[in-house]
């Protein structure tokens, strides 16, 4: 039996990064929870709506103990989106998924509420020692560091250039069956024959530039266009592409 797809729109899949708060509990859990309660009492809504990851690396605990801890946290309105550093045996159905590959960001600092005297205190788990009556949490803005990379040779069929950090410049062609995935813009000083994905982590400003457009697929911020849907007038031309709304625009570079 064949199902008929009446909706021809494709599924849009994008990458997105959030800054998660990482809690590293220590043993015994009831002492640690008491300190957490103390912190929460002084900063209502500390964890509300914030992605929280539990780091249980090197903790000699059982699955039941972990489950109990997650329940205790749930009672305090702390919902755990994932568990880091857990042995596979620690996690089971109904528990948050295990996470891997997290990269450290700057510490989430708990600061006093007085607007003029922003006294930085310790990280949340040590916040219990701080004696400030009211605490507000400021998550430092994560400024993306602009980066770029240059590839000095042709990207061959079967090769994949992955650079989520920023722009990719290729001095050479991108072969049919090759792909370039960049967080920023993609510049190709040669023919673009493979798959080119710019702004892949949700950058609508990203653009694609190429000397000769013969791409199999182009995408900016998850919006993509296949070769057969491209205006044939742009084929073989020197072209730049950008996003306007949900449409990829193209212009021949003179």
């Amino acid at each position: 039996m064949t199902a008929v797809l009446t909706d021809s729109r494709s599924i849009r899949i994008k990458g997105r990064s959030f800054l998660a708060v990482v809690l590293s509990p220590d043993l015994p859990f009831d002492h640690w929870l008491a300190r957490l309660d103390d912190l929460a009492a002084r900063s209502a809504g500390f964890f509300l709506g914030r992605p929280v990851v539990l780091d249980v690396a090197d903790l000699p605990i059982s699955r039941a103990e972990l489950q109990g801890l997650i329940e205790e946290l749930g009672k305090r309105n702390v919902s755990i989106m994932g568990v880091e550093g857990a042995r596979p045996s620690l996690l089971g159905p109904g528990m948050p998924p295990g996470l891997k590959g997290g990269r450290p960001a700057s510490d989430v600092e708990v600061t006093a509420k007085e607007p003029m005297f922003e006294t930085p205190a310790a990280a949340p788990e040590e916040g219990a020692e701080a004696e400030k009556p009211a605490v507000v949490v400021t998550v430092p803005e994560v400024r993306p560091v602009l980066q770029s990379t240059i590839i000095h040779e042709p990207v061959r069929s079967g090769q994949s250039i992955l650079f989520p950090e920023g722009d990719v410049t290729i001095v050479g062609s991108v072969a049919s069956g090759a792909e370039v995935i960049a967080g920023g813009s993609v510049h190709i000083y040669g023919a673009a024959r493979g798959r080119i994905l710019a702004g892949s982590l949700g950058n609508r400003q990203a653009r694609i530039f190429c000397r000769k457009l013969e791409a199999e697929m182009l995408a900016i911020d998850g919006i993509y266009i296949m070769a057969e849907d491209m205006d044939p007038g742009f084929r073989g031309q020197s072209v730049q592409l950008w996003l306007e709304g949900d449409v990829i625009m193209a212009e021949i570079l003179s």
């Binding site: 042709p154 061959r156 069929s157 079967g158 072969a175 049919s176 069956g177 024959r193």
Partner: protein, 281 residues
């Protein structure tokens, strides 16, 4: 059975003849280039890496003389000189056959390292005939290469497979691991200039533009090639005056570093050939 006069201090060159795609002319080109180099009095061995589907012995006309093969040598059942077969027509040309009864897992990296290093002591040129595909057999064949001859037909699927292989030559060879580059050359085979001009085939310029590696030669499509393999002789031995032979002889001279202008043999007279020759150069 075979006597060697290994000269000290000479630099053996290892060539891999590769393509990714099957049926484009790797084995024919291995035999033809091997015979062309051997005719210049250079000690040459052609090595069949296509374990399980060996063909090079047939094209070399040595299929009834295979006693031991490369797998026997690797597994220690035979010494390398016992497995080498000297060509009956050219005393500087040798064949190291593949096994037909084993599968490609019988080749091990250490074994191949040993065989190639020993061959380097005896020969000027070691030409490895790679199996099709991108798996173990192909990566082992290219592992020791100084020079890669990428055999390509003027046709899109062959060109894309060659592109993939070129990427692997830059990543999976000993030279690449040591931060050096394998010298890569394009050998365009089964080329029919008239059909290319009609648009039925990719043109030389198009292939060169896509693959962006230097051109070693253009071998014209010819029945001479088929006739030669049917009588079990490299085309450069069967009929040295035929168009494909002359193209292979020119390619062999370029491998030695000589600068030879590129043209399609047999079409030099016509105006078309002149224009074409200039464009391909």
């Amino acid at each position: 059975m075979t006597k060697f006069t290994g000269e000290e201090g000479k630099m053996a060159k290892v060539i891999v003849v590769t393509s990714g795609k099957g049926g484009v002319g790797k084995t024919t080109s291995t035999a033809a280039l091997g015979a062309a180099l051997a005719q210049k009095n250079q000690k040459t061995v052609v090595v069949d890496f296509d374990v399980g589907l060996r063909n090079l012995d047939l094209v070399m006309g040595a299929e009834r003389r295979v006693v031991y093969d490369i797998v026997n040598v690797i597994q220690g059942d035979a010494k390398l000189p016992q497995a080498l077969i000297r060509d009956k027509r050219l005393e500087t040309l040798f064949l190291l056959p593949a096994s037909q009864t084993r599968d490609k897992d019988a080749l091990t990296q250490d074994g191949v390292d040993q065989v190639i290093n020993e061959l380097k002591r005896y020969f000027d040129w070691i030409i490895c005939d790679s199996p099709a595909g991108i798996e173990r057999g192909a990566t082992l064949a290219m592992r020791h290469a100084d020079i890669a001859v990428v055999v390509t037909n003027p046709e899109v699927s062959s060109v894309r497979d060659s592109d993939r292989i070129i990427g692997m030559l830059d990543a999976k060879t000993l030279k690449a691991e040591n931060g050096e580059r394998v010298e890569k050359h394009l050998l365009l085979t089964r080329y029919d200039a008239l059909r290319a001009e009609r648009g039925d085939m990719l043109k030389v310029d198009d292939v060169l533009e896509i693959l962006s590696i230097p051109l070693l030669g253009i071998i014209p499509e010819s029945t001479d090639v088929l006739r030669a393999s049917n009588i079990g002789a490299p085309v450069t031995l069967a009929d040295t005056r035929s168009a494909p032979s002359m193209a292979y002889f020119d390619a062999a001279r370029r491998l030695e570093g000589e600068v030879v202008p590129i043209s399609i043999p047999g079409q030099k007279q016509g105006l078309f050939g002149k224009i074409f020759g200039r464009r391909a150069a």
